[in-house]
């Protein structure tokens, strides 16, 4: 059943336990994502998928277990350092800086140490090429964008960090069907750019289509792990854990 990543893992989460106050959310989550790999994380509401991403991002401190990035421990590292090591985060409610313009939103990730002006321009050109609508709205406040545009901005903003991996939390939530297919295009593009993705989703078909491997969580632990190809043919498992 276990399928190893082809190379040494980029992100390795090992037996992580996380609490919110007194409630025990993660009961020993173990998973890994290889370089440039798209990995899906499925499960019903409230099983700890988002908490897993937050824990990797350093937004929640695990009480037990370890997390490694490129073989180096990053457990408990502050989020801003992780961001600079190349971990991008796109939270489920997108969390655009609503009063900042589109351009300023992008600059929050661009104004890092050691990024030359040419490099900045290249990064901007790249995302404006993928998301022309953002170029159009570059001096508009983030809060005035539509839901789909905000989602693009959230992903584009994470791309400014030149991430090795993006933690993508429910990118299609609340989007129109047309936007949903655009999101899966974006995932493909990121995949071609060799950016790894850990994708949390409710949309099972999209996840199975986009990912190479899939973890299924239940009650704070990973219950099932399989190649996406395999799962597509195994309705029983999907039915058992996801009820669809």
């Amino acid at each position: 059943m276990t399928i190893a990543a082809k190379d040494a893992p980029l992100i390795a989460v090992d037996d992580v336990h996380t609490y919110y106050g007194k409630s025990h959310i993660l009961h020993g989550v173990t998973l890994h994502v290889g370089p440039g790999e798209v990995v899906g994380l499925l499960g019903r509401n409230g099983v700890g998928k988002s908490t897993t991403l937050k824990t990797i991002m350093g937004l929640v401190r695990p009480t037990e277990g370890s997390i490694q990035l490129d073989g180096a421990p990053i457990t408990g590292m502050p989020p801003h350092k992780l961001a600079r090591l190349g971990v991008g985060y796109v939270p489920e409610d997108r969390r655009i800086f609503r009063l900042l313009t589109v351009m300023e939103n992008l600059r929050t990730g661009l104004d890092r140490q050691g990024v030359t002006d040419e490099k900045k321009q290249a990064l901007l050109d790249k995302v404006f090429n993928y998301f022309p609508v953002l170029a159009e709205r570059r001096s508009q406040a983030g809060g005035t964008l539509s839901g789909g545009e905000q989602q693009m901005l959230a992903i584009a903003r994470a791309m400014m960090l030149e991430p090795k991996i993006i933690l993508l939390d429910e990118p299609t939530e609340g989007l129109m069907p047309r936007m949903v297919s655009q999101i899966s295009n974006i995932i493909d593009v990121l995949h071609k750019e060799n950016v790894a993705i850990l994708l949390v989703e409710q949309n099972v078909p999209l996840t199975l289509e986009a990912s190479e491997r899939v973890y299924i969580m239940e009650k704070g632990v990973v219950r099932h792990h399989a190649a996406a190809r395999e799962l597509k043919m195994n309705d029983a498992v999907i039915h058992q854990y996801l009820g669809v």
């Binding site: 939270p91 969390r95 800086f97 900042l100 600059r107 929050t108 990730g109």
Partner: protein, 297 residues
């Protein structure tokens, strides 16, 4: 009474003088309140020690002026020293409280204000010191010899506020500050070192308070209790202007200072303070989110 009689009975000369006075104190107050608003907006901290930072700025101005004789150097050094002090205060007392109930930060900054105020009393004694204004020219305004320096204060305060605004609007760190103010967690996730942004914002606010202390020093005596009056006024301004709203604070500072200046035509300055209290009460009654914020849709 006829209209002309009413018009004659209004003391236009006094009103003009008080308009200028009101704008001068309003700009100083705006400078203090902007720092307070910045700090509140970004870290939810009501900085009780803000008045003491203003007061320490004035004292450092006194010392540097006494040793170097250069007012502008005094302004610069006081600003920098108090900014550094502010950074140290933030690191020692507020950083450990991050994530705790915001009310604990009021307590902590209150403790800081007690310490600073009593330090100043102990170090400099109860007798007020004087800062000599950098130039003593006057121009004639009706029956008054009005000092140019007052206008310079208003201009300089406006320039500092303007510079601060440009920095927030376009500077790299300005964008960091605004992003952190809006969403601390997401700012961190974008690689912004939020704890240091907090420290820097506190230092900037402290420096602005110190600068206003030095600028205002020549108009009043410098003593250890001067901070309390100003911080109270700044609190009123911040509430009336809408908590955490920079533009609103500046507008409210000028508005309230003008009202107090006009009131002082008819009542004593001590009682003119009541006017700002009344504005505060009316604001709380009819528009508790602040006078100078757009109505939420």
């Amino acid at each position: 009474m006829e209209l002309t009689a009413i018009l004659y009975s209004i003391p236009w000369d006094q009103i003009l003088i008080q308009t200028i006075n009101g704008i001068v104190t309003g700009m100083i107050l705006a400078l203090i309140a902007s720092g307070l608003t910045l700090i509140f907006g970004i870290m939810d901290v009501v900085n009780f020690a803000h008045g003491e930072l203003f007061m320490l700025g004035a004292y450092i101005g006194v010392i540097v002026l006494a040793t170097t004789g250069n007012f502008w150097l005094a302004l610069l050094i006081a600003t920098l020293v108090v900014a550094l002090l502010g950074a140290a205060i933030q690191i020692v007392t507020l950083r450990p409280l991050l994530g705790r109930d915001p009310l604990t930060t009021i307590l902590a900054t209150f403790g800081v204000s007690l310490i600073l105020q009593n330090y100043a009393l102990w170090q400099f004694g109860p007798v007020a010191r004087k800062i000599q204004e950098p130039f003593t020219g006057h121009f004639t305004l009706f029956y008054l010899e009005y000092p140019w320096y007052r206008l310079v204060i208003a201009g300089l305060s406006a320039a500092i506020i303007g510079g601060f605004w440009l920095f927030l609007k376009h500077g790299k760190y300005g964008i960091w500050i605004r992003a952190t103010t809006q969403d601390r967690v997401m700012a961190q996730a974008m690689g912004i070192p939020v704890p240091w942004v907090h420290t820097a914002a506190f230092a900037i606010g402290a420096g602005m308070a110190a600068a206003s202390g030095v600028l205002f020093g020549p108009l009043v005596g410098v003593n250890h209790t001067m901070g309390l009056d100003w911080v109270l006024k700044a609190f009123i301004v911040v509430v009336v202007g809408g908590m955490g709203n920079l533009g609103g604070s500046i507008a409210a500072a000028i508005f309230i200072s003008l009202l107090e200046a006009y009131a002082a035509i008819w009542v004593s300055p001590a009682q003119a303070v009541i006017v700002s209290f009344i504005v505060l009460i009316l604001t709380l009654l009819f528009r508790p989110t602040g006078l100078f914020v757009p109505t939420p849709k």
